[in-house]
């Protein structure tokens, strides 16, 4: 967590103001009981009305000033803690955006989202509370002790008894409570998981008549949660009365021993009353500290999660001196490429070499886990190869700027991703200067023109977050249109037609054939029918190239391809 505090640096001045104002404010507050003691010991004892009024006036001034200072502290604390949250959130966002897919996979999207949203919020709350309590409490504690000692050093010995007792009790209770808190969190997660499952699996559960079984599972988790919840709350139920007892017994001791001191004539009654106030402040600040300490483990967990992300740097580095493409536009070459996912034993792609030329369609076929998608994702440098090289337009992609490389590509993923904004925004996507006609042509080719124009507002119709208001097929078509609109040199289609119905699929592929004209097209496919017309088919098996050639050639001489075809041909044969 300390590592994150360096992000407080821009706020050094604000923090100084907070510290100074807080110190001054606390001193003023601590001064009040002293003034009150003077009212009693001088004003009342000596029957001096003037002194009472005058001291009272000073007290008013002091509390006014203390109040004003606290407002200043609150103001700057809000600015600093919220500003800190804002900066950290921004930093994390930029950082995550810069990560390659390799690092992204490591955490998972959902986890990265929680880290950027909830975890940051947790840290922000702690920083806010830190200024509110964790700095305030120690100052109050020390100031209170100093003033108490200065009132009567002997009487202060009482704190030697009560402070350690209180600290010990708080420590003991916390030590039992914190593991319980953790266990409660686990039970909460379990409960949420079961609930989510019973909703997502609704049909299956009912189809198999397992409602009762699910009910039992839920009840079990619910009871576990309840029992731990009761334990946690009972622990907390101990905490408060224990603290009260220590505080109150301290008061009793002060009055008793104070009485003795007054009797001996070494202490005045006003001072004793003031002493009571100081005792209250000292013990309260200790309690405040302990409350603050409950929050630390929670924030610590969040801080660790944030740091994990920040400490992770993208493996993919920009070249020092980027080169531009020199050879034919759209030429793509894999030279003995090997790649493995972090920590994987087996390479996902192994010794793959091929050339894809402009105007040609290269299809990649093979079973899941054969490395098709991985291979495709190496081209935009989502991952860096382990061995060998990939060249685009005659330049190793590691020597090209990522921006230039990606500008040459039109990538359509398996799962279409759309964003909040209009349809036009989504098609233009990061490339504002695409003219209207090009936009419409892309929509037409992608077989999206019809449903887009049927929407209210046409291409200016709003797309909701992550394309929630569109069907799977519609999203996929827009995602294809997005690639078409930028007229890339190389198209990368990753099994991109799966959500379309047959008619649309057929029309789309016919239109694509014309549109992609001189571009290089790479298609990852599951089915022979998709790849049958390709200029070259690359058959992948367990990450290795099992054969390259046209359909007919492969059909004659490639065992794996024959197997794939056979599995689908049994269907065709019966047709």
């Amino acid at each position: 967590m300390i590592a994150l505090f360096k992000h407080l640096k821009p706020y050094t001045r604000f923090i100084l103001i907070i510290l100074v104002s807080m110190l001054a404010g606390i001193l003023l507050e601590l001064y009040l009981p002293t003034l009150m003691a003077s009212i009693v010991d001088i004003g009342i004892v000596d029957n001096d009305m003037g002194h009472i009024l005058q001291t009272g006036g000073w007290m008013v001034v002091c509390s006014l000033l203390a109040g004003a200072l606290t407002v200043i502290v609150t103001y700057f604390t809000s600015r600093v803690s919220v500003g800190f949250g804002r900066d950290l959130r921004r930093k994390l966002f930029i950082h995550v955006e810069g990560l390659s897919l390799q690092e992204f996979d490591r955490f998972g999207t959902a986890s990265l989202i929680t880290r950027t949203t909830n975890d940051i919020k947790q840290i922000q709350d702690v920083v806010n509370m830190m200024f509110g309590m964790m700095i305030r409490a120690p100052i109050m504690l020390i100031g209170g002790i100093i003033l108490a000692v200065s009132r009567d050093a002997m009487l202060s010995l009482i704190f030697l008894a009560s402070l350690p007792v209180l600290a010990c009790l708080i420590f003991l209770i916390m030590r039992t409570a914190i593991p319980l808190f953790r266990s409660l969190q686990n039970k909460t997660d379990r409960l949420n998981l079961l609930l989510r499952e019973s909703l997502t699996g609704l049909r299956v559960i009912r189809a198999f008549n397992r409602t009762d079984y699910e009910k039992k599972r839920f009840d079990q988790a619910n009871e576990d949660y309840r029992d731990i919840g009761i334990k946690v709350n009972r622990m907390i139920a101990v905490l408060f009365p224990v603290m009260m007892i220590v505080m109150n017994f301290t008061n009793v001791a002060i009055v008793w021993f104070g009485g003795i001191r007054v009797n001996e004539g070494v202490m005045q009654v006003g001072n004793m009353i003031a002493f009571l106030q100081y005792a209250m402040m000292i013990l309260m600040s200790l309690i405040m500290l302990s409350v603050a300490f409950i929050m630390i483990p929670r924030a610590q967990a969040s801080a660790t999660r944030i740091n994990e992300v920040i400490q992770l740097h993208s493996q993919i580095k920009e070249p020092a001196q980027p080169e531009s493409g020199k050879a034919v536009q759209g030429l793509l070459e894999f030279k003995d490429v090997t790649f493995r996912y972090a920590g994987a034993e087996r390479a996902a792609v192994e010794s793959v070499s091929f050339v894809a030329r402009p105007g040609e369609t290269t299809a990649i076929i093979g079973s899941t886990g054969s490395g098709k998608t991985t291979l495709l994702q190496l081209i935009p440098r989502f991952y860096d190869v382990e061995r060998g090289s990939i060249e685009v337009d005659g330049v190793n992609i590691r020597d090209m700027s990522q921006k230039e490389l990606r500008a040459k590509l039109g990538y359509v993923p398996q799962k279409a991703a759309l964003f909040r904004g209009t349809i036009a925004d989504n098609i233009r996507f990061g490339n504002g200067d695409i003219p209207q006609e090009q936009l419409e042509a892309a929509l037409a080719t992608a077989q999206a023109a019809q449903f887009v124009s049927a929407k209210e507002g046409g291409i200016n119709a709003e797309v909701s977050q992550a394309g929630g208001n569109l069907s799977g097929g519609q999203k996929q078509r827009l995602s294809i249109a997005r690639a078409l609109a930028r007229k890339p040199e190389i198209y990368l289609f990753d099994d991109s037609f799966s959500a379309l119905d047959y008619k649309t699929d057929a029309k789309l592929r016919a239109a694509l054939r014309q549109e992609t004209g001189q571009a290089t097209v790479i298609i990852v496919a599951q089915r022979v029918s998709t790849v049958i017309d390709a200029d070259q088919i690359i058959v992948l098996d367990e990450g290795k190239v099992a054969g390259i050639g046209k359909h007919d050639e492969l059909l004659k001489g490639n065992r794996i391809y024959q197997e794939i075809v056979a599995s689908q041909q049994t269907e065709g044969a019966s047709a």
């Binding site: 009472i52 966002f93 995550v96 999207t109 609930l195 996507f429 008619k503 065709g572």
Partner: protein, 607 residues
């Protein structure tokens, strides 16, 4: 400090208001009924604990007075009296602490039990709601009701309920004590009350406004983060990073603006109340000093007053946050009750029909159905399916093929006509009886968080190890399961990323096989599945269809051609039915569909 927590921004400060305050409150209190004996005990404990707490400053004041008196008189302190007073005080403090502890200890059980009961009720309710309900309500919303809203109620039950009792007793008790000691000084303290009320109202109203807009902005920022992270590949591939950051910065800055204002406003409560407290303290000191001078009251009473005025602020601040908490809790309760009030599936009696005796024929007689009664999408459907026949359901995506599943599984009730299974009317059996004879393998490969063994055994209660392995073997899943490091004990994670989509499908087939159904509902769609797994799935599907009446959402031509009957669906309706050849001859929608597939590829396998 408890006040500070009460005002924390985590409590949605009246962000949503309950529609019918009284009714919801009464109903919520109804949940506490079973615990009412405990609650009364808790209330009595709270009363006692607070009372003792309220009396003690007066006693402490007496002690101080006795010291002061002897000091003024110059006599020695009356330690006998002092000792007696202090022993009384120790007893009071101990009692007060004991009562406070007991009260909170009991309350922990009360609120947790109440909430657990409510959670159980919601869960059971969800199991009784018809599917129609879930089709209309996104599960994210239901989840939030069952989790967040119930949590909300829990928090306020635990805190608000107690604080109401203690706050009220404290306020009344303190006022009584103060009046008892000195009505004049009480008046002085009371001067600060309207001040506190004004401050609390002002701060609460202001900060609430900022909190609402903060919540809205926070939602936007989180939404943006979710979307951009979710589309990471595309953002990178299309160089969208800068634009995404621009949008983020704009939102983040707006969040900062509303957030710090909300924080500041709610943070003002503490210093302002402290200031008012200090003013009260000063006033008491001055006025008390003068009164002591005039001999109207004793010095210990002033000390007691100081303590009272300090204790007074806390319940005042609590009252402000309690109001918000209760409002939020009631709004949540209303959302939970709305689910509980949804009409349920009618409960039926199990009848004499023994589903095990039935044979696998299905007949639709003049069946009509629509998701809403005005728009029937199935009208007068007549269909006789004999045992062992295969019915293929075809049509483009979104044609409503799941409607057929919904009717057969009795997820939805038909609006007219009769549906019969093995000659017995659906309505003469319970839903459980009907479903016990069906099994379905659908595209949505739902598996739960548990071992592979448990997931397969899900299809049959009390399935033995041999049956599980046998089912896996017949579903062609045994091989891949054995290659997993933990075999059948492999725990499937929530997203089940440890096995592939195709393997998941094989497991769902094994689950169907073990249930040994009379009638099978299959969805052949296997998108994003590799060829070899696909082959296994096909073989497994053939295996399970063997000798069983099957309804197949067909994607393969062979299935369609071999089917005894094809139902062609489009836009939710059954538009044609017949065998492959009959339908081709009709030259209708089916023929069109079929030809469009074969115009380009000679051996197009998939339709």
């Amino acid at each position: 400090m408890s006040n500070r927590r009460g005002m924390s921004p985590k409590v949605p400060m009246g962000a949503s208001k309950p529609k019918d305050f009284k009714k919801t409150l009464r109903r919520l209190l109804g949940y506490l009924r079973p615990q009412r004996k405990k609650l009364i005990t808790v209330a009595v404990m709270a009363l006692m604990g607070t009372l003792f707490n309220v009396v003690s400053p007066k006693l402490l004041g007496e002690a101080t007075s006795s010291i002061f008196d002897s000091f003024l008189k110059g006599t020695s302190v009356d330690f006998a009296l002092l000792g007696k007073l202090l022993i009384w005080l120790i007893a009071l403090y101990a009692l007060s602490a004991a009562f406070t502890f007991l009260q909170q200890y009991l309350m922990a059980g009360v609120s947790q039990r109440t909430i657990a009961a409510m959670r159980k009720e919601v869960n059971e309710k969800l199991a009784r709601l018809p599917l129609r309900f879930f089709d209309k309500h996104p599960y994210g919303d239901l989840l939030s009701r069952a989790v967040n809203d119930i949590d909300n109620i829990n928090n306020s039950l635990q805190q608000a309920l107690m604080q109401i009792i203690t706050s009220i007793i404290t306020i009344i008790g303190i006022i009584v004590m103060m009046l008892f000691i000195s009505p004049l000084l009480t008046l002085v303290v009371c001067v600060t009350i309207p001040l506190s009320v004004i401050v609390i109202r002002f701060v609460a109203a202001k900060s609430q406004k900022y909190f609402i807009s903060q919540q809205a902005t926070l939602g936007q920022v989180n939404g943006h983060i979710e979307e951009i992270y979710g589309g990471h590949q595309i953002v990178k591939a299309y160089g969208y990073e800068d634009k995404a950051l621009d949008t983020f910065d704009e939102m983040n800055e707006r969040l900062y603006q509303t957030n710090w204002k909300a924080q500041f406003m709610s943070g003002l409560m503490m210093p302002m109340m402290m200031f008012i407290g200090n003013i009260g303290y000063v006033l008491v000191s001055i006025a008390g000093g003068i009164l002591v001078l005039n001999g109207n009251i004793r010095i210990g009473d002033v000390q007691a007053f100081i303590q009272y005025s300090q204790q007074f602020n806390q319940p005042m601040m609590q009252a402000a946050s309690i109001a918000n908490m209760i409002q939020a809790a009631l709004a949540s309760a209303e959302r939970v009750f709305a689910v509980l009030d949804e009409p349920e599936e009618p409960q039926e009696q199990r009848t004499l029909v023994d589903p095990k005796e039935l044979h696998g024929s299905v007949s639709f007689q003049h069946v009509s159905f629509g998701y809403d009664s005005e728009n029937p999408i199935i009208r007068d459907l007549n269909l006789e399916v004999k045992e062992g026949q295969t019915i293929a359901i075809v049509g483009p995506t979104g044609a409503g093929k799941t409607t057929m599943i919904n009717l057969l599984m009795r997820f939805y009730e038909i609006n007219g006509g009769r549906l019969k299974l093995g000659g017995a009317d659906f309505n003469d059996m319970s839903r459980e009886q009907v479903r016990s004879r069906f099994a379905m393998v659908i595209q949505d490969t739902w598996l739960f968080n548990g071992t592979i063994r448990d997931n397969i055994a899900y299809g049959k209660e009390g399935a033995t190890e041999e049956e599980v392995v046998e089912a896996a073997r017949r579903a062609y899943a045994d091989d891949f399961i054995r290659t997993l490091p933990n075999g059948y004990d492999t725990v499937l994670t929530e997203e089940a990323s440890n096995i592939s989509q195709g393997q998941r499908q094989l497991l769902t087939i094994a689950r169907a096989i073990i249930s040994d159904p009379l009638i099978l509902i299959l969805d052949e769609a296997t998108s994003s599945v590799d060829t070899r797994t696909e082959m296994n799935i096909q073989k497994a599907m053939k295996e399970i269809m063997e000798g069983r009446t099957s309804f197949v959402i067909a994607h393969r031509l062979s299935t369609i051609k071999d089917a005894d009957l094809i139902l062609v669906m489009n836009q939710g309706e059954i538009i044609e039915q017949g065998t492959h050849l009959e339908l081709l001859r009709q030259k209708g929608f089916y023929a069109d569909l079929h030809n469009s597939q074969f115009s380009q590829g000679q051996d197009e396998a998939v339709i």
